[in-house]
């Protein structure tokens, strides 16, 4: 939640949804009254104790929070430097941080009297989380998913179907996350009366970047309490991967005003100097897409590129607007990790800790592997382990040339 302090990094967005020059509400006129309704409903809900109580009760009883802040001893020893903690979002029900946000948004949908839910998904984690809360609340659910992603995330596609969701393959454009978002927006414009769009990351038109962040802040709020309990002090560094940026902003936001070094990891695909990556801050420029101004991967004519990452959940040519702002003002450092480094991290974490991380989270691990050895033993790193990697085993087997 926003801070009352004047000189706080936690005050955004302003009333028009801007974080510095980023954010805003760049959507079709048909959606604007609805977007205002979402904002009004959210502003009421966040000050309503009953709403907060229901949200936190569901997180506790259904999602299984709080999840542990785990001291990764074997990784720490192996890397020989900083002390590494994992914030274990992968232990949540459905296996990733995405469910935190879905619980919050479906409560908003119900509050607005909406009866049908739509979502976009890349890795399928957000799709599964959305389908899950829809099952729980007995609402019909339509998930848009790129045809390419359906192919590489088959287990999640089947999970969604089992949960009762309709998964619609998106064959337009690059057949991945950005196109699924286009398709979800097209659905929403056509069904404004009864439909609520559960956006899966801290992006989109205002108020989504704000509300998704607020729902995900449970990650950082818990981590803060847990590290104080375990170490009696705040961590020195935070690390998380960014696709649209929801798990990262959720971990970071409660620490923005503290003396903590914060690093976010973008997917560099084949490398930021190639045309096959998803690192919008390292390799992009400001533009307007999907309802907000933010850094985008695009050509000189403003045409959006297809992103590439081995991890479907990071395969997006944009990033949430608050991250663009935090990058602009230098509060958070954004670094690239390529497919190969992520694959190595995936394997190392699995072998040393017995935790199979999501390929998305493996990007964060890869950066921790780079930084930990250069740091003293009393340097504490808290890393967001955003999801579990069961969904990725086919992709990884394929990349390693193994048949399963």
């Amino acid at each position: 939640m926003a801070s009352n302090k004047i000189n706080s990094f936690r005050n955004g967005p302003d009333e028009d949804g801007h974080f510095g020059i980023f954010g805003g509400r760049y959507v079709a006129e048909t959606l604007m009254p609805l977007i205002h309704d979402v904002e009004k409903t959210y502003n009421e809900a966040k000050n309503d104790p009953a709403f907060k109580q229901e949200f936190h009760e569901l997180l506790k009883e259904y999602v299984g929070r709080p999840n542990p802040l785990y001291h990764a001893k074997r990784m720490t020893e192996h890397l020989g430097g900083a002390k590494i903690y994992f914030k274990r979002e992968e232990l949540n029900h459905t296996g990733a941080h995405k469910i935190n946000n879905c619980v919050g948004q479906i409560l908003l949908a119900r509050r607005m009297g909406k009866t049908r839910i739509i979502a976009e998904t890349g890795a399928g984690q957000h799709g599964v989380a959305t389908a899950t809360v829809c099952a729980l609340f007995g609402m019909p659910c339509v998930v848009y998913m790129g045809a390419k992603d359906i192919e590489r995330q088959k287990p999640n596609v089947f999970r969604m179907k089992l949960l009762g969701a309709e998964v619609i393959p998106v064959t337009s454009g690059s057949e991945s996350l950005k196109d699924s978002m286009n398709e979800a927006l097209r659905d929403w414009v056509s069904n404004v009366e009864d439909t609520f769009y559960i956006i899966g990351t801290a992006a989109g038109p205002h108020p989504y970047p704000e509300l998704v962040r607020d729902f995900q802040c449970v990650i950082g709020d818990e981590a803060r309490e847990q590290i104080l309990e375990k170490e009696g002090r705040l961590p020195d560094s935070l690390v998380a991967c960014v696709g649209g940026g929801s798990n990262a902003i959720g971990l970071f936001h409660p620490f923005l005003d503290d003396d903590v070094n914060i690093v976010a990891v973008e997917a560099a695909g084949f490398g930021v100097n190639t045309d096959k990556h998803a690192a919008s801050l390292s390799g992009g420029a400001p533009g307007v897409l999907h309802g907000n101004r933010t850094f985008l991967l695009m050509d000189d004519d403003g045409q959006i590129f297809e992103a590439h990452s081995i991890s479907a959940g990071l395969d997006y040519p944009g990033i949430g607007p608050e991250h663009s702002h935090l990058h602009d003002i230098g509060r958070v450092k954004y670094v690239p990790i390529d497919d190969k480094e992520a694959l190595e991290a995936f394997q190392l974490c699995t072998k040393l800790e017995g935790i199979i991380p999501a390929l998305e989270s493996a990007h964060a691990i890869a950066h921790v592997m780079k930084m930990a050895p250069t740091l003293p033993e009393d340097h504490i790193i808290v890393m967001g382990l955003s999801g579990r990697g069961d969904k990725d085993i086919f992709t990884v087997a394929d990349a390693l040339g193994e048949e399963i």
Binding site: A28, M32, P33, N182, A285, D301
Partner: protein, 278 residues
């Protein structure tokens, strides 16, 4: 010129006691040369106002027909600069038909708003419809456009009430584009009565000309909507003809231009034959 050209056109339509025909094609679809020939032929075929789509990689308010048109144009290496150049060539022969660019904000933002307005005005463009710039974002383009007399056509939709209409019209000019359905282009067919009721309601608030569009596809349809609106927009139905007259490499057959223009001719009979109360 610019906004003046749009206003003059609506004055002319008023004296002719009829609604105007607004035709939409995407610039560079299926290729620049063919697209320019279509553009040049439109006024003769009966288009009163031309909407020219600026291709964009992510047209999230468009249905399949116009999405594919964008993709075809981009495959042919169409750019915003080339779209402006097309209009400049069109203006060598036609100084009276208003041209409105329609599309999404990002290509303009990346081009640079001030430079874009300057270049668009000198190319002979009269107005802009930018789908993802609602009035909440008027400072981006609508207000700079106003300063240089570029028309900024705002959209109203079935979700617009009178209060919101006033917000929409604050920096809107040229005409109001009433989107007949809550939806994307080229899909659902609109019903007449709710559209007529909406325009009646809006006319009590403003006397700006009111165009209707989305889902209007046939001359007969055009005639019905032309009974009570100031202009009728047809897009996807024209774009479909382009799609049906190209091969797998997006190369136009020799009939394409003629077929597009004769369809526009039929649509224009629609606006001319409409029975109007005035």
């Amino acid at each position: 010129m610019a906004l003046d050209r749009i206003e003059k056109r609506f004055e002319k339509l008023k004296t002719e006691k009829r609604a105007g025909l607004v035709t939409f094609v995407t610039a560079g679809d299926p290729d620049l040369g063919t697209s320019l020939e279509i553009l040049k032929g439109l006024p003769g075929a009966g288009a009163d106002i031309i909407e020219l789509g600026m291709p964009f990689s992510d047209p999230m308010a468009d249905g399949p027909a116009i999405q594919e048109a964008s993709i075809r144009a981009l495959k042919g290496k169409m750019t915003l600069a080339k779209t402006l150049e097309m209009v400049r060539l069109f203006r060598q022969d036609d100084q009276v038909t208003p041209i409105i660019l329609m599309g999404y904000y990002n290509p303009i933002y990346v081009y640079g708003v001030d430079k874009f307005l300057y270049d668009a005005l000198s190319a002979g463009i009269d107005g802009l419809i930018i789908v993802d710039l609602p009035p909440e974002e008027d400072t981006e383009l609508a207000i700079p456009a106003k300063k240089v007399n570029m028309g900024m056509i705002h959209l109203a939709t079935p979700t617009t009430n009178e209060k919101r209409l006033n917000i929409i019209l604050r920096n809107g000019s040229g005409f109001l584009y009433y989107v007949t359905i809550a939806g994307i282009t080229g899909t659902a067919k609109p019903d007449l009565t709710p559209v007529k009721n909406a325009l009646d309601k809006f006319r009590a608030v403003s006397d700006i000309p009111m165009a209707v569009g989305f889902g209007i596809k046939t001359p007969k349809n055009v005639a019905r909507f032309a009974e009570f609106s100031d202009a009728v927009v047809v897009g996807s139905a024209i774009v479909d003809i382009i799609k049906n007259n190209i091969d797998e490499q997006n190369v136009a057959n020799s009939e394409l231009i003629g077929r597009v223009l004769s369809f526009v001719d039929e649509l224009s009979d629609g606006v001319k034959s409409a029975k109007r109360e005035d």
